[in-house]
Symmetry: C2
Subunit: 462 residues, 2 copies
């Protein structure tokens, strides 16, 4: 009985904030300014200029590389040039992974090179072995333990393009889980068809890891074309491949989250957080991943400054997202005591396709205010999609501790053509789409900053 009463009381306590929340409202004056802001953002070139500058002046910027440090200096200078009121950095320390070289060749009667990318986090080493092809991760899972002794496991899963990029669930899982599974089956090396939706010779890298207690094996991704070629060769008969990766861990490195803030005119201690990640993989110039996110959100702060937002606008250029959300986790660790003042957050880390959907963790708590925001987003072709969104990458760790989030979903149909490969370059971004992205983030950020009341941010235990 007592237990039952306690449980009922606890249930009341847990749902109480939802039931008791005062409805947040956005003043009419703010709504009127949002419409003008939206139209101005559609004509504004700042996001493009910032994106072009990061991808050109700095270029590829692998976390821990010499270019990582240049990117940090670039971000500080860019925030200042854009007129941000405060600019500072917060350190982010992580193990440094280095790529020095990689190659793969078919040996024997059909000798020919294959285009490969070492997976981020792979050990280096050279292995030779017969290739055993599996159509997907499940097929490798079904292989008998030890059955791949001395062989090279090859997962040949072809990712499909989707608006929301959801088939990355399959492609990414092969990359994350494949190497450890291959080790358990006895394999000496691991190859996979790139987690990509393109048809090109550019292989897609991306992070992997090995389960504790396993002896790592070299792990690499073939371009989708090279994977198709290898599949044809394997179908002809036993095919041996030599895989040589020169890469690995090289101590620790300390990079920086670079933060620019437009100080709030009325409630400066309350923050609307937006941002993207400053690092990229090393093949491309990280244009869609994620210079675009940096360009969009840096531009939003600059666009909002003359409007003197009530709350502070905090733009974070996160360090080392690619190798495990290091910047996002460092930010959460540092600011976990101040969750309630992070009124709401939205990251842009899914390219520069047109934004088509809007959602928020506050969908049940503050439907009226979100409807007001939605009304201003609708002319951009953006739909209200409750339950469809999620917090993007680096803001995840602090949302897990109670920070409210919003989602402005980019069309990701072609995102995985370019994700983590050499083709992720400036020319892939349509300036008109980037302006639409900027307009959407500007509208959201402005209205969240002017909203009377919050969106449910409240400290939460892990």
């Amino acid at each position: 009985m007592r237990t039952t009463i306690l449980a009922a009381a606890l249930a009341l306590l847990v749902t109480a904030p939802l039931q008791a929340a005062q409805p947040t409202r956005i003043p009419n004056a703010a709504l009127a300014k949002a419409a003008a802001l939206r139209d101005a953002a559609l004509q504004d070139a700042t996001a493009w200029q910032v994106t072009e500058s990061l991808t050109t002046d700095v270029g590829p910027r692998l976390a821990g590389s010499e270019a990582d440090a240049r990117a940090v200096e670039w971000a500080k200078a860019k925030f200042k040039a854009l007129g941000y009121d405060k600019v500072w950095t917060e350190p982010v320390t992580f193990p440094k992974w280095v790529r020095r070289g990689e190659s793969a060749q078919v040996l024997g009667a059909n000798a020919q090179p294959l285009h490969v990318a070492a997976l981020g986090g792979s050990v280096g080493g050279t292995v030779e072995g017969e290739v055993v092809r599996f159509p997907d991760l499940a097929a490798l899972q079904a292989a008998a333990d030890g059955s791949l002794a001395g062989k090279i496991a090859f997962i040949d899963y072809q990712m499909q393009p989707r608006l929301d990029g959801s088939d990355y669930g399959n492609g990414g899982r092969a990359r994350w889980a494949g190497p450890s599974l291959a080790i358990r089956k006895g394999a000496a090396g691991f190859l996979m068809r790139s987690a990509g939706t393109d048809t090109s010779r550019a292989p897609h890298t991306g992070g992997t890891s090995y389960e504790d207690g396993l002896k790592p094996i070299p792990a690499a991704a073939l371009s989708t074309i090279d994977a198709a070629q290898l599949a044809r060769l394997v179908a002809l008969g036993p095919t041996r491949v030599k895989l040589a990766l020169d890469c690995g861990w090289d101590g620790d490195y300390t990079s920086q989250n670079v933060i620019g803030e437009i100080t709030g005119s009325q409630r400066p201690q309350e923050v609307v957080l937006i941002g993207g990640h400053l690092d990229s993989w090393d093949y491309g110039t990280g244009a869609i991943d994620d210079a675009a996110g940096i360009g969009i959100t840096m531009a939003v702060g600059a666009l909002l400054k003359p409007l003197k937002p009530a709350r502070s606008i905090r733009v974070v250029a996160f360090a080392n997202e690619e190798q495990g959300l290091w910047g996002g986790r460092a930010y959460a660790d540092k600011h976990v005591g101040n969750v309630a003042n992070h009124v709401i957050a939205a990251e842009s880390d899914f390219g520069a396709g047109r934004i088509y959907g809007f959602d928020s963790s506050a969908r049940d708590l503050q439907p009226a205010a979100l409807a007001q925001i939605q009304q201003l987003l609708a002319p951009l072709g953006i739909e209200w999609m409750p339950g469809k969104g999620e917090p993007e990458s680096d803001i995840g760790p602090l949302t897990e501790r109670g920070m409210a989030w919003a989602w402005l979903g980019h069309d990701g149909t072609r995102y995985f053509d370019l994700h983590h490969n050499a083709e992720d370059t400036l020319d892939k971004i349509d300036p008109k789409d980037l302006a639409q992205n900027t307009a959407a983030y500007a509208v959201f950020t402005w209205l969240a900053a002017q909203a009377e009341g919050g969106f449910g941010s409240a400290a939460k235990a892990k």
Copy 2:
């Protein structure tokens, strides 16, 4: 006077064959069979299978490489497997050029790698220098002699896609003539935007040469994307690049023209020659350049064999086209005494786009027979385009010595997206287009073999 009379007599002599030629006619039975052959070829998978086999089993096959020898063995075996009556080889000796590696980096404050391809025939070497950009070859030509001392000349000409690929005139000229011109201006190195119409990170290689008496400098092509990046960097301020090419000449090599023949049932000594080239550049698997040509023409011989053509069908897989028509020149040298028996020739070396046009050197001499052929090509969407065509690549040397030629023009709009780069792979070929190509070559070859009378082949002094 005597001179005038002699000139008049000579003029008569020269024009006599045209005026005196008996009209060549194609028998009705042959025309009827051509229609059935055309429809069968559209359903036939041989060309695809041959193309897939060459690009998969052999892969890239740079002239003089280990794969060159494998390609020769492959071609002999494939002709035999397809039932050719005679299969033989004829030696082709040429200087061997080797690519071992290449890289380029922007140095200094904007340090980043650039994707480059050493041009075929380039010397190796490492140079560092400030980049001087020229929008095209003419702009480099206009620079003062000696003005580029210690610098790297960069021709940034962007080729435009055309149905007939005609802008290769500009792109290819920058590649052939650019390095020597840069040397004359004092440059230490040469870079060019790839002679390509794609937007990708895959640079296009291709042959270059240096004028006699000049000291060669390293010469390479940037991918179109890297060229745009370098142009942006140069616009920002002085930009230094390090270009390191490990490549060069390495003695002589003897490859083979591989020849398969379907022996003519009535006039076996008379030959209709078709073919493509067996070698490729080394980045891609040489699918459109020129496995498709090999696939189409090998398939045509196999399709024609059961029809017992009157004349012999000779299919030539030419050696080392890419580095200077070595196979075509060797063939001409060997067979120059037998031009008249080469009734007509057509090569397929412009990819696997749909064939849209037909032309021949016999356009004025044998219009009636060509009209008969055209009638059978028309249902494939092919137009008669007198004056539009030319003999493709390897048959050029023998047409210069009097061999009649035909042109079956492929749609080349996207040909230079793939030409000489890593993206020239099997997936770029549409099997339906390849079947249309095969049907066109089959119709032409069959009707030329059955024609009563020739197309004007006659020995001609150089």
